[in-house]
Symmetry: none
């Protein structure tokens, strides 16, 4: 049996014409500073109008006290218990750059990093090297290390200091610990399997060899020496195989499309069966015009749209209250464009809180808003404080998909 | 181990003299129209007085987004996880007309229906034939089909187009899909077991023969030809055997009595071990005087009374705001009679919401009120809006039995 709530929705969900808009403002939840959060301080006339006629609540992403990464946060939003379906960041990154992993592949996230002469990590991101240099280093490494033992090695630039490592071969497992110690001043960790399974042991052995060979190649490369801090080693994390998730089409009877400018979010969306209509994602930032164009041109193919806004999280991580507030106001300005898709039900929330005072993903429950023809209208604003005691009460992210399906009259009655 | 919350209460519940009144206003929850729900618009001085001194909260019947049928809704209220204890409608209907099923029996719900000349269902209820005609058709079928193979066939009129089929014999299983396709314009489905178990296969075979024989008998009957749409076939649904539920006496240490005018609710009450004191239930509607007479004459036998009010749901299904409001006011008028039983603890809620705007059972959480000597007094009214943010917070129906037991000081401390 599928875990909650997938077992419900697989039984009860029905296909109808109604449309669901599912908006994720990444990291939007916050903690008041002098009584205000970015959400409460922002000037959001469009969001206010929607919220007034919507039901509000507070939703805990995974469990009280747990600050989720982007992967678990979004899986929970999409109704996939992240404790049941654990997905390595490497897999999310691989999917995000458009790779479709097969069962004999293992993916990992790589960082170009700086090793100090004493063997400790001096910079986990090698000064956030430019993407162009990343591409040149990847070409160098790919040329030098096409394979290890009987395993094919493929390397892909993600952005800045980040790359993706994909191993292809027989008998590879995904349970290998990060070589990234997570902080500077410590040496990189050896690649170690977290189980006794020979498949995991094999992957660990290959990754360890890869790290050693790559460090050797980078050490010899003239191009590396020009930079300070020098990208003279690699750190590996988030090793995993692609999980087998029951798709949205099967469990929710939806035809879902995802609109997100950042690869990670398109990746997690594809993992649950969403289509990611093609666009020119070159450039950086929110790329709002590209996203709105996608919605206008491809929206009618779908009855469920996941629309992702990234920068609310980024400025939370930077501890920048004013810029986080500004991102919310920017979102407010495009809300009418989203509503022009004519959804029957709208959900707005975030994957997790990223309070400017914490400067990191946090455990705080987030405001959630559900708008539709059958909601109790709370007459409030979409803020952390107003969401307390709203009609939706206190929820988990896992509850949200059944709720939006029900509000769109896409769930039949359970039992007689 | 029993599922939550039965495992708690079986360990912790103790027998005392205190009395619990458990009132279910069927389908009472609603969604505001122009800011008002039937509960908020109703003039309810007695309920208001009780609510002022009670704790309020919002309770989700089964899970967010799930609209339960009457069976699962009531099982959840009584603390029996409806996912763990799934009960077919046939069993509920059989218990509701006073049958006590034994382990070698299978019950199903039947509809008299109209088959078009092309073999599709033209009317799933044969124009809702009168109960008198139902009784004559049942006599005809019972006479013509006393048994099939080694299985005894018993037929009982429920009301209008509905009847109950009970099969008695060895080796009968309960897992057979409905022959009712659930919509017109499609042919009836063949009776099919949903497992490979020979017991389920046998039941499916017997039901298929019953449907064929009954259709033949009805086709030949002069009485059927007089009606348009003609009740010329039968549809079977909700096939099941009686589930084995641990009774209230065992898990809650209660002596429970149920007072409900509609058979279905007496049926589900008996399923969990409640007594249903005998009364003359002839006639229709709420039969309030009969219910109050039962309470006066039999109330002292019990320390737990389940009191059911049906019409709040019926008028929700009809989309009739004013009449739903009126049912709530009628209930308010008899609340003093209920309190005359001198309960120590009173719970009032519904099994599910039936919003007049949805005209069907819905997923919306309902207001719940607990009154007793040890509650936090919220000073509010019993409405969907006032229940937001009440002292009880947001709950599931499964949480309610332990809460009323605790408020009645019928739960000992857990652990030392």
């Amino acid at each position: 049996m599928l875990p909650y709530p997938l077992h419900w929705t697989e039984r009860l969900a029905i296909k109808t014409d109604s449309r669901i808009l599912f908006v994720v403002l990444d990291g939007v939840g916050d903690v008041p500073i002098n009584g205000e959060t970015p959400l409460s301080a922002a000037n959001t006339p469009n969001l206010d109008a929607l919220a007034r006629d919507a039901s509000l609540g507070l939703s805990t992403p995974v469990a009280p006290g747990v600050a989720p990464g982007s992967g678990p946060g979004h899986l929970a939003l999409f109704g996939y218990d992240p404790l049941h379906y654990e997905v390595g960041r490497g897999v999310l990154s691989a999917l995000g750059i458009g790779l479709d992993l097969s069962p004999n592949q293992v993916a990992a996230r790589g960082n170009f990093a700086t090793l100090a002469p004493d063997g400790t990590i001096a910079d986990r991101r090698a000064g956030r090297i430019p993407t162009d240099l990343n591409k040149r280093l990847i070409a160098l490494l790919q040329d030098a290390i096409p394979s290890i033992e009987d395993v094919q090695v493929n390397l892909y630039t993600e952005a800045e200091y980040r790359f993706v490592l994909v191993l292809t071969g027989d008998g590879l497992g995904g349970r290998v610990a990060d070589t990234d110690p997570g902080r500077t001043g410590e040496p990189p960790r050896p690649a170690q399997a977290t189980t006794q399974d020979p498949r995991d042991q094999k992957t660990a052995r290959i990754i360890q060899q890869f790290v050693e060979k790559a460090t050797h190649v980078l050490h010899e490369a003239d191009i590396v020496k020009e930079y300070d801090p020098a990208p003279n080693t690699v750190l590996i994390r988030g090793v995993d195989t692609k999980p087998n998730l029951p798709p949205f089409q099967q469990v929710y009877k939806l035809t879902p499309g995802a609109i997100a400018s950042y690869p990670m979010y398109r990746g997690v969306a594809r993992l649950v069966g969403m289509e990611t209509p093609p666009a020119d994602w070159s450039g950086s930032g929110e790329r709002t015009e590209t996203k709105l164009k996608l919605l206008r041109e491809h929206g009618d193919k779908y009855d469920f749209i996941f629309f992702h806004v990234k920068k609310t999280d980024s400025y939370g991580e930077d501890g920048n209250f004013e810029m986080k507030k500004k991102q919310i106001e920017d979102f407010d300005a495009i809300l009418p464009d989203l509503l022009a898709w004519k959804p029957d039900v709208v959900l707005i929330t975030g994957d997790h809180s990223t309070p400017v005072g914490v400067k990191a993903h946090s455990w705080h429950p987030l405001p959630v808003l559900i708008y539709g023809p059958h909601v109790r209208r709370d007459g409030r604003r979409f803020t952390e404080m107003d969401a307390r005691g709203g009609s939706l009460g206190t929820l988990r992210h896992l509850d949200l998909m059944p709720l939006v399906l029900a509000n769109a009259l896409k769930m039949k009655k359970f039992g007689a």
